[in-house]
Symmetry: C2
Subunit: 464 residues, 2 copies
Amino acid sequence: MTAFAHAAMEQLTDLLGKRLLTDQESAERYGVDWTKVWAPSPCAVALPETIDEVQQIVEIANEHGLHLVPSGGRTGLSAGAVAANNELVVAFDRMNKVLDFNEFDRAVTVQPGVVTQQLQEFAEEKGLFYPVDFASAGSSQIGGNIGTNAGGIKVIRYGMTRDWITGLKVVTGKGELLELNKGLIKNATGYDFRHLFIGSEGTLGFVVEATVKLTRQPKDLTCLVLGAPGFREVMKILHAFQQDIDLTAFEFFSDKAMAHVLAHGVPKPFDTECPFYCLLEFEQLSEQVGEQAMAIFEKCVEEGWVLDGVMSQSLQQLDQLWQLRERISESIAPHTPYKNDISVSIAKVPDFVEDVDTVVQDAYPDFEIVWFGHIGDGNMHLNILKPADLAKEDFFAKCNNVSKWVFEIVEKYNGSISAEHGVGMTKKPYLEYSRSPEEIACMKAVKQVFDPNNVMNPGKLFDV
Amino acid sequence: MTAFAHAAMEQLTDLLGKRLLTDQESAERYGVDWTKVWAPSPCAVALPETIDEVQQIVEIANEHGLHLVPSGGRTGLSAGAVAANNELVVAFDRMNKVLDFNEFDRAVTVQPGVVTQQLQEFAEEKGLFYPVDFASAGSSQIGGNIGTNAGGIKVIRYGMTRDWITGLKVVTGKGELLELNKGLIKNATGYDFRHLFIGSEGTLGFVVEATVKLTRQPKDLTCLVLGAPGFREVMKILHAFQQDIDLTAFEFFSDKAMAHVLAHGVPKPFDTECPFYCLLEFEQLSEQVGEQAMAIFEKCVEEGWVLDGVMSQSLQQLDQLWQLRERISESIAPHTPYKNDISVSIAKVPDFVEDVDTVVQDAYPDFEIVWFGHIGDGNMHLNILKPADLAKEDFFAKCNNVSKWVFEIVEKYNGSISAEHGVGMTKKPYLEYSRSPEEIACMKAVKQVFDPNNVMNPGKLFDV
């Protein structure tokens, strides 16, 4: 440890006492996310309890050239919160309180360490609803959701995390506390830095407080699972329903995904085997809405867009049908899947999927490709399963080629190399497939404004 | 004219030919918005037809130190598009085409000069709906709406302009063309500069193309006009309805506003005179929703929150009731009103209004204060009428004091000095009441990134 580092550690110990963790176990626990490519190697873990402490940590970092990595629920999938290079992890587990609730604004102010599910439950207690929901809701934290602009399964109706944040307090890389937008709905007073910080992956500063809008609880959720002869028909189904019904979800999965999830023990929705399936959900606000949905369903059958289908008749059936979609990930997990999270504009999805299929199968005919995702917002999860007889290293080496091809196709279709997981370290080498050199140069210059000494999560998103 | 300016004009003439206007009439027409405080004095007006021409104009400006002012429909209320200091006005009237429509994404790509109403009508032709709507929709342009993040009367349900823009092409102050977010719903690849440009009032660059989401058309709109004994009861009415019904509008106006609009010839909704009125609107998607609304209405009467009320029974009645709110502005126009557009979080509105009333009436008991606005999103329009016997200059001198007091109260309630009209030149001196010195310093530094030579709309928002 250098003399500089010693001095920094001393100051941090004075500030945090036992809330500065230096043991190996803590380093390994707090220094990673759900990606396992980089080994955790932080110099220590800080557990601040107040905004003032966060500011002091940033000041110490600036003084001593210490690098800081924000840590929330550590459920990230892009190594955005991995501390692999002797950084100080700043974990928000101790800043996990709901600070304020306001029934007229339907707004709740929380610390960044509040877990997504804790916020969802708080909303429910108040007779309200926090609609951003995804698989890791039980451990992901609001601060991390904001850092990555988390999306999930209800984006078609409710949007991304971005759409629910009305106020942010951030500590910038300079140690300044900024209060952004103050929980207001309407505020036309210049640049909206709130939106700049949302999705910035901790590279500009720390989120230390957030005001979040809530909405009314959904009523009588109903879903349909439909089988379609092709991807183009799935698009027509989406279009037909959206004209009349406010969908709360529109998910799709391929026959291969269906086969895995059925083998995993989830009950079959109907007998007809189809190349593609979609699951759509809506609020059955009145009987009329249900009748309307049935009429559109029948029209889709007549047109040949739907081969078979089923509509939930109870909440229990709704949950059961959702398992067809939600349990795909775990059903393919034993096959060591290569995963990619990409998006294009909705209309381009069928061509995009076809192109990726062709390129991958031409090169690697023994690869099984499993598609599923949030088709209603153009977001697909590409999964490629490892053939049983292929060694892990060989598989991942081949998948590196796949990544390049996939991102080339993403670029061709003007899409995003990361729809919802973020860039972090895993997609950093590919950023130019989605953002132009001019844009990346602007990003670096903007980072310079808020974090001139590059103390905030360096090496993530881009290298300065 | 300096030699530099001569050279610039020559280059611009070579580029644009007759689309460079230098006559006095054009200068007066294009150099202003709806504010009339600053006299227009541009050096010329450019009417580009292509993105390439816009880029060349910016390059010429950088070369010769020419200042550029964007000009859309010129309906602004903060002098954000006024060219009072020999700037070159860049007007987008010739870039007014719909470029693309995609039914699956429900997305339309437009040039910045498309008029709001033109977009609304295009959406309607496609069986869809563009929901951002306000009084100047007939002449405001999309580019200007984006520059100011225009809001309007349906924000409670549909949000601001920001919420409908999925892609932006901008030409920065450096002349670079950036393609921001590309029409994607999900895109987690670093800083979302789209949101930085939205609401930046043309100080970072020109919007040269936008991709806009559309939604389904609203069905069976129904409204209620209710009279309440006080402002706190208005909040309770809002709360009661929002728990069960998705409101498309929740407007309020005071008894004084009602008196003016009735005197203006709009029919009375009911006989009971009340201190406050609200107008709320929703989609009556089924009979059940209508019954629900009636039940909540009755509950509000029982609780004493509502003194009287009426519900529209037809589209014609809906339109008539809306006139009570929409024609307030014109009904008070003859009284030379001082206007201010401010917001606080919704729960704070009653106290805020009371504080402003007290301060203004204490100092100027002869001033009539007329309140109305979008209470569902915390946005109030404060109007003070000129007493008939007070000279205009004296009135405006006193109103300057009022502005300062109002902004002090805004600051106390952590609100915004400009809810939806923007800062421009009119609110520039007051920006510190809503944004901290640190934030303003960051804004200036961010402007420097995109517009290092300060050619883009200088003197608006802040002075560099």
